[in-house]
Symmetry: D2
Subunit: 341 residues, 4 copies
């Protein structure tokens, strides 16, 4: 039986990417899509690349019966809308950051507002399917990971879990401009960001606590300290997270590769690469490519994770979570090669 | 009296950029330019953007009397050509890597060949004018810094010299594609590198020993360990070096900014920024913008340095060195605003 | 029964794009792939975005039994390889230009060599499925259209067929760099073509006779004169063909739109737009968007056609032809929304 | 004696480019700069690439005594501000479109408002220095050409003036995104315009009447009909205008080249190229490269003009006009090679 899906805020990049993926999903169908600014228009008319949805109206509220809801609202607004849906018994996947931090205090510290539904925080499962597939399968509320944390956690998880690195990491991430969202004013105009690289929110980005929290879960009695610096680079999609940590013990390149391969042996979308991966090799796909290197000269691990921020970093991951929550194969609708070049 | 300049290998990006700058230099003139592949053509015909040089032939060897030579040959080939010129009493600026590492053994380790002129290594001065202007002024052989080291050393120098960081740094650098040079085959075709970020030579790039050597010079009895990972990003010019180091003592953001401002108070081309700088703000200029941030949460320094890899990272720096070596004002011919947008 | 497909020269952009599409095709399967330079490697290893093909070897010659062959060889080489395959009774789709021009003399004039298999020219069907679906369904040798002609012919066909324009057209086309192919040396390096627009082969490109021949077929006793100028623009995929022709009679904007809509009413992949279309809205899809405008001030038609040069302009069109030749639904494996942004 | 210059609306791309050029001008100095949104800030602080202007305040109105004013206001607003300045005896260069169309009715038709100062239209000189240098030298009010018209008129002028083409031209122009101006909201965000080509205002752009008017001036009793279609391509700077016209008489490629070379023999900034020129070869320079080709097959002229839209297409041309109006050498402050790559 086809899973009926609703997308809240289909007009952002993550929402429209989920709609794109659902068009080719063999066992799920997009039946409702909301979006305040474009309500009343047909989805296929508002966004010419989604012309296939010629008859699906964008509405103010969800108007069809659905089994699963993706919320692509801004953080803060999202929890407020998700809470009653969870109470109604729907399966909800929150693509915003509302349910990622376990401590209500952490939410307030980083987002400067009270959490709108703190009672649901314990119920939410962190939706990184490569690590928590079985928990996700049982959940009715999933916190879809942030794009930077997804790439970073997958790059570091085997090393942190095995205890081969000192829990003191530096994370230097490079993102394409679509990470800034759609319709985001003058700051991301082509003339300004083309031929430009810049850091922003240096050591002060709200994906830092998410990384620290999730990396610390991976090994008992380990608190991982994270210095995180995001950068914008002139491309549309893609995240390249380069992670640095001192080694806790001496390991060889071959041992680290074997450790990583073993860790991800049964996972469909995280692939261990034996050469430095390219973001372009994940363009439009749900893959995360990870690549660990040992700097023997200085006793450090350099671990790279790359992914498409709108796919594995947002909508692709959401579909993956929907599949698990709905008893579908994890790869359903996601088994597409990357688009290259 | 006008300084007569010759460029060896004007057909690479660094060589042609030096030619561009010399056209508008008030007290120096390009009188000779070599380039094997295009010998016999006029410089202004071979490179339409240099049309002003309609009558300057590209030759196989330097055919005019010159005062100063820029060598933009590949590393290894460069020292061989420079050595006799130094002996003849010319002032030589080597834009290649031949004279940067003080130890002949280090050269062999990183470039896999014997150094062609080890006897000149002691005579060469490291040409980072923001730190060594007076030494450069007295030199007849200058090793022009690498593009990555220039951005990195300028970002870290005040902190290392003051001893406020542990001498264990992680350097994550992002470079535009022109850093790979001109005429470099299929690996850097537009279709492959557009919409792509990738790391390369992870913790194994030959600019690493240059960084380690030069940072270690800045403070007595300090050996700085450097893990260096370069990345290519889809833009033409620009380097963004993001440097991470644990703090050795507690300092505030204001103190670090003051330390940096003080350190660079008398230097024309390195500017301390109080916000995260953009590579685009240095496009076509000789400026290096540096920006230190304290990550108080984790006790770390994040120091950013950005510059145009063909200007302050190559030809601009070479002109600056020529000025100092020739008794001209340091800024002569280099006082151009960046081209924006 | 699944159609077994072989790709000759899978290592070019068109070949690898066909492989990508076949991975998700419901009724066809890639079973053999040749490629001289990478023979012996696994396809999924040679091209990381095609990792799914982990066990498909790249071979020197077709080694599996196949039903359909795509030839993505260079023009000239292609006919030579295709001829014996046609004789063996295989269905052959030539993505090169070998079978597009009906006159052997035209081939010689434009490609400066004798046609290797002139006896097959009459047998070949021009594979523009939006115009010739029923002929293609009966063919065993199809000449896949060039990327520029596909966009241009689809933009002009309704107007030429109806006789509303003077048969004297100016075609100004803009192409992404992938149109130049893979592994094509220094001429298309990122540093040279980024931030650049240039025309090339002005009024002398070998897609001109293809356009003239095919446009002239659309209306009896009409010979269409074509001035064609291609341009390269700094993007990877996409063709935007802007076509200009004097009106032969007075028509309104509404009449022209109605004429176009009527002409393409039953066609799945050519869509008439009522606003100026964007190449980006076809990225990764098999759609061609056409947009006719009447310049009433000067009595002229301006007709725009946009498509993805590797999809509708090459591999997507080839799949479409395979579907028709194999009795499959025309849209099989091609019903993907464009990837945006 | 140094010419004192004021820029009205220094905060747009044309205004800030003029400021950049004036910094290195040997005989002119920027002494005043207005800009409503950033009034009160220092120019060098508001725009980091103009850091050299550390002490020049952005003001609401011109506060210093000036000799020459550049107005970079939006069309309509500009004439209103320029009119009293002309009356005061200042030399005024209007970079907006207010004084380009000679007929007040044409202004109203295209800009949908009454002309604010129709009495000045006769006094204004069209500021294309390659054609009208001596008129400009005597003017006190100059209408700086639009970027598209500058490239187009220079590409076609020799052919139209000589009468070798039928006065019925099709102009297909491609522009970088900076032509859309600074701070222009969501429509030109990187994610939307990267990897995209699109036409806009097809046969309905307000630069069309400017082209038609100016081309018609070049030959007696000739009214030139112009169909003009502008396109946006993903680059920051640059215009490539490709112009098509039927030949009125038979001419050879060599004759056309000779005609063009002769026409521009005494002009510093328009250069006749004998190969298809690249926009990138004009990046940051004041050159316009023109390239005529004869399509002998169809009896047509294809004439290309390329330039940097912020230089020869706006601020560079304004400086050139200022030079002529002030008795300075035409090339003063503009003799810079293009920045490449």
């Amino acid at each position: 039986m086809t899973v009926r899906v609703g997308i809240i805020n289909v007009t952002g990049f993550a929402g429209m990417e989920a709609a794109r993926l659902l068009w080719n999903h063999p066992e799920a169908e997009l039946v409702a899509a909301t979006g305040r600014s474009l309500a009343g228009q047909m989805l296929g008319k508002a966004f010419p690349h989604l012309a296939a949805y010629a008859d699906l109206p964008i509405t103010t509220d969800l108007e069809q019966e659905v089994d699963v809801v993706f919320s692509a609202l801004p953080t803060g607004a999202s929890a407020e809308v998700c809470a009653p849906l969870v109470e109604q018994g729907l399966r909800v996947i929150d693509i915003a950051a509302d349910f990622r931090l376990r401590e209500p205090g952490a939410f307030t510290e980083w987002f400067h507002e009270e959490h709108p539904a703190p009672e649901l925080l314990d119920r939410a499962v962190y939706g990184l399917a490569d690590l928590y597939a079985s928990d996700i399968a049982k959940a009715d509320l999933v916190a879809n990971p942030g794009c930077y944390p997804a790439a970073t956690i997958l790059a570091l998880a085997p090393a942190v879990a095995a205890g081969i690195v000192v829990p003191r990491v530096f994370v230097d991430a490079k993102s394409g401009i679509s990470g800034a969202g759609r319709g985001t004013g003058g700051g991301f105009s082509y003339s300004d960001v083309n031929e430009d690289v810049s850091a922003y929110r240096v050591a002060d980005h709200n994906h830092q606590p998410e990384m620290a929290q999730e990396l610390s879960r991976l090994r008992e009695e380990t608190e991982v300290a994270v210095t995180f610096v995001p950068h914008l680079v002139p491309m549309t999609r893609g995240i390249h997270s380069t992670c640095y940590a001192p080694l806790a013990e001496s390991v060889s390149q071959a041992e680290v590769l074997a450790l990583y391969r073993d860790f991800y042996a049964d996972v469909p979308f995280t692939v261990v690469s034996d050469t430095a991966p390219h973001t372009k090799h994940t363009f439009g796909s749900n893959k995360c490519l990870v690549f660990p290197t040992v700097d023997q000269r200085n006793g450090a691990l350099v671990a790279v994770g790359v992914l498409d921020n709108l796919m594995k970093g947002a909508a692709g991951s959401a579909i993956e979570n929907m599949n698990l929550m709905s008893g579908l194969p994890q790869e359903a609708g996601l088994d597409h090669p990357a688009l290259y070049p």
